[in-house]
Subunit: 251 residues, 2 copies
Amino acid sequence: MINAIQTTTQRAPGLAKAAAKRTLKWQRDPEGMRLRILEAAKQEFSAHGLAGARVDRIAAKAGANKRMLYYHVGNKDDLYLAVLEGAYDKIRSEERGLDLEHLDPPEAIKRLIEFTWGYFLRNPEFLSLLQTENLARAKHLKRSTKVKSMHSPFVEMIGTVVRRGVESGDFQVAVDPVQLYISIAGLCFFYLSNSATLGVIFGRDLLAKDAKDERLAHMVGLVLAALTGQSAVLFEIAKAPKSRAAVAQTV
Amino acid sequence: MINAIQTTTQRAPGLAKAAAKRTLKWQRDPEGMRLRILEAAKQEFSAHGLAGARVDRIAAKAGANKRMLYYHVGNKDDLYLAVLEGAYDKIRSEERGLDLEHLDPPEAIKRLIEFTWGYFLRNPEFLSLLQTENLARAKHLKRSTKVKSMHSPFVEMIGTVVRRGVESGDFQVAVDPVQLYISIAGLCFFYLSNSATLGVIFGRDLLAKDAKDERLAHMVGLVLAALTGQSAVLFEIAKAPKSRAAVAQTV
DNA sequence: GGAGAAATTAACCCGTTGGATAAATACTGT
DNA sequence: ACAGTATTTATCCAACGGGTTAATTTCTCC
């Protein structure tokens, strides 16, 4: 992963000359270094939180000298904020790529839930960073002008989808898009971010493939059932792809 | 709050004699001290996380000498685990007090959501502690035999309610109680534990009275609509108590 | 009323950690 | 090829933080 970033570097001129001179004690690569530092910092902050993160470990992981962190990014707090901003930037950019306009409303909502779920699964550090920042009551985020201007396109998207759904008769309620957004995020977020403690309490692995499939089916069923009023049918549809036994058994 | 605990102490004999001798340099009160330490530790750990917590601050807040923490509870980790176990103990005990048996199924689900929401609102430190522990991937919880044996009565309660609801025709689906439990907890938890970052992003105070009322109404509406299939009606009912404008406006 | 145990205080120890300083090395333009 | 600048390294340090040691005060029981 870090290697991939390193190769990103495009040193413009004098490349042949530098390659010939093979007695270099170290490479010079500001952008690459900065990226490696931020990547290492992301790992460290998400693994240990803000207070638990160690500047020396970040430097080591980035293959850099500790002084580099201060040179390229700033002190520990600056580093943390840069990581946080990067994380928001990334998810917002992926969110924009998801166009729900051409899907029929129930399908669009399903797609939205699947995306949110998938993104959280693929980016567990994002969840950790959010947790950390909320533990700090968003102290750092409040000072970030960048993040404040990065509005999630989802709220508008949801608004449009819901409106279309009500008009087409697919949905029975014109639910508030912000509430729905928070609900979808919450359904996904809580399960994943708290899987450790929940796993201990329930005595089972919530991150096993089957468990995750079952969870996704449940969430899609729950939200779509609420919107369409077709409880039974939708829960069945959502459940179909996998583990069809689970629900019936339990009751 | 701390004072209330202090008074808990019941020093058995020799009270009159001790009261007479007024040249005491300090009081002797093991149980009271232990409680004050745990209360202070709870505050500290929930405010700053495990790594961010400061042993000296805990001592100061407890009105104790630092050495007392080690004498009465143990090292920092022991202290943390004790707090965590206490937090679980408290919520489980309150959960047990909630009997849903005599309510009709939709009312029971509503009550369940309201309790969860209310408990989280009244005990924000519990949310923080959970976040902290999950950040640590439940490392400490796994070692706790106490917590593992403290099963939430909710899963069974929900199972019974759902079964009754399906039989009575109120509910259209026999949803998995564990999934429903996680969903309800997640809907409440995410909104509250992430209110800081969400507040910054949406540019509004999610903890204002109106916002909280609206959220509760939404959650009740969402879950009950999904179970009963009565989307429109239930969202209206849930919304009724307060701010009736919000939902209609947005779409 | 005094001896031994329990509870509490004061002071210290030492590895860790964020951050700083100054010197060395690579690159660029001229 | 040389001067000046940008990047990187090696080393240091003062403050902090968890934990410990030893002495002091209170309580209990006989």
